[in-house]
């Protein structure tokens, strides 16, 4: 197998990790929206914390992206 093809495949595989982050972001939003629906008065605080949670979850996807980029461009 050519190294080039292996790199492309490797980058693709690295991005599989984004599945988890996607699920996590979905769950965080699910919880946040449900909380807001139940208690609209607390929307501000819930939104802030929800965004923070989403951001931390998203960090996982970002690590995947970093790895994919390292595979593609650096090695």
């Amino acid at each position: 197998m050519e190294a080039e093809a292996a790199k492309l495949i490797g980058a693709g595989i690295a991005m599989i990790g984004a599945i988890g982050a996607g699920l996590g972001v979905g769950m965080a939003t699910y919880g946040g929206v449900q909380g807001i629906a139940r208690n609209p008065d607390a929307a501000g605080a819930i939104q802030t914390n929800m965004i923070l949670g989403i951001v931390f979850t998203e960090a996982i996807a970002i690590y995947c992206l970093v790895v994919a980029m390292l595979v593609l461009f650096v090695f």
Binding site: T48, I51, L52, F56, I60, A61, I62, Y63, V66
Partner: protein, 378 residues
């Protein structure tokens, strides 16, 4: 207000035809002149000077300086922000300070409203440190917002030079090999001559009579060019490229942010702030758990460092992916489809700007609290 009450005439049946005409014109034009895909490159492309032939070297660092398109974008964003500041916000603020009854309207008021939201958010999180933390939050958010939204301006990431550097280098190397001499041994005249020849050669093989791209127009990235597989590796080097697609910017901003988090932590707690990292308080009283606490404190250092990475790559990843999506869609379906992605990128750009600022703000606010044990690693 009264002007708004006058009924706006909806030119029924006209606008849709205009829209349709534009779409059809777009289809015809892009059919005859297919758009060149901008290079998908991690590095910011050089506009003036190159990596090997820089304008100058930075003193002490000895790294080459060449004008990149992200630097152009940075300067443009700075100019935009400064224009906003001195043409809109300052006059507005002066009016407000003079106690004039300012009618809430216009860009300045929108900016002020936006900043007020950020201020309230900061105040609810940071408390008495609001006045210290808010400028960081606001500056990061405002600047990153402008930089991200610049991506949406038509022409950004799209208008630029055709890049022939790689092809030229490749051609010169080939010719030199054929002549049996090293590239470095060529005289300046010969080199210049070969480069000219390369350009001619390129346009000969890559352009047919109709002016369309030749057979190589399916392979448009540098990488293929380097391998020499595609003869006509045509790529646009945009003059302006979204700043956040340059890791130098995002990492620089992340470093500033994380350093300032430490600075504010020290300012609020003094040297006690470092107890978070070197937790020796319980080390001698409770040997086992103290050791664990100490190790956890050391991990805090890793956590701080990983903040830099997550900060920078979050912004970079989102905006870079957005930019790639924009010009891939723009190349594949050049007419309507990009509008939807533009909408998406509008929100992504805003959210990422706010998230970058808000995270900085939250971490700064956390640094002002003396208790440790916030386990928000990532």
């Amino acid at each position: 207000m009264s002007q708004e009450t006058t009924e706006r005439k909806w030119r029924f049946g006209v606008n849709r035809w205009i829209l349709l005409a534009v779409i059809i014109a777009g289809v015809i034009i892009t059919g005859n002149y297919p758009p060149a895909r901008p290079a998908i490159l991690l590095n910011a492309e050089a506009i003036l000077g190159t990596h090997s032939d820089p304008l100058f070297y930075f003193p002490f660092l000895n790294t080459p300086f060449y004008l990149t398109n992200t630097l152009v974008a940075t300067v443009l964003a700075d100019i935009l922000v400064l224009a906003l500041l001195f043409l809109s916000i300052r006059p507005y603020l002066n009016k407000v300070r003079k106690g004039a009854d300012v009618v809430p309207k216009g860009l300045a008021n929108a900016v002020e409203g936006f900043l007020e939201v950020l201020y309230n958010l900061t105040e609810s999180t940071a408390g008495k440190w609001t006045r210290t933390i808010f400028p960081w939050f606001a500056a990061i958010t405002l600047l990153v917002l402008v930089m991200n939204w610049m991506e949406l301006i038509p022409g950004v990431d799209a208008v630029g030079n055709f890049d022939l550097h790689h092809y030229t280098d490749h051609y010169v190397e080939e010719q030199a090999q054929e002549m049996g001499v090293a590239v470095s041994a060529l005289s300046a005249d010969e080199l210049h001559h070969l480069e000219e020849e390369a350009h001619h050669h390129y346009w000969e093989i890559c352009s047919d009579a109709s002016g369309n791209h030749g057979e190589g127009d399916t392979v448009l990235i540098y990488r293929a060019n380097e391998e020499g597989t595609g003869a006509c590796a045509l790529a646009v080097v945009p003059w302006v490229r979204a700043v956040a697609t340059d890791l130098n910017f995002t990492i620089g901003l992340a470093i500033v942010s994380v350093v300032m988090i430490q600075v504010i932590g020290v300012r609020s707690q003094g040297l006690a702030y470092f107890e978070k990292f070197f937790n020796v308080r319980t080390l001698f009283t409770k040997p086992f758990f103290g050791l664990i606490d100490f190790a956890v404190g050391l991990f805090e250092i890793v956590s701080e460092l990983s903040k830099i990475i997550s900060f920078s790559f979050r912004l970079f990843g989102n905006i870079f992916a957005g930019a790639v999506l924009l010009f891939v869609i723009g190349t594949l379906i050049p007419v309507v489809a990009q509008s939807g992605v533009l909408m998406l990128e509008f929100f992504v750009g805003m959210i990422q700007a706010i998230v970058f600022g808000m995270l900085t703000m939250v971490f700064m606010a956390q640094a002002t609290h003396s208790h440790h044990g916030d386990e928000e690693h990532h």
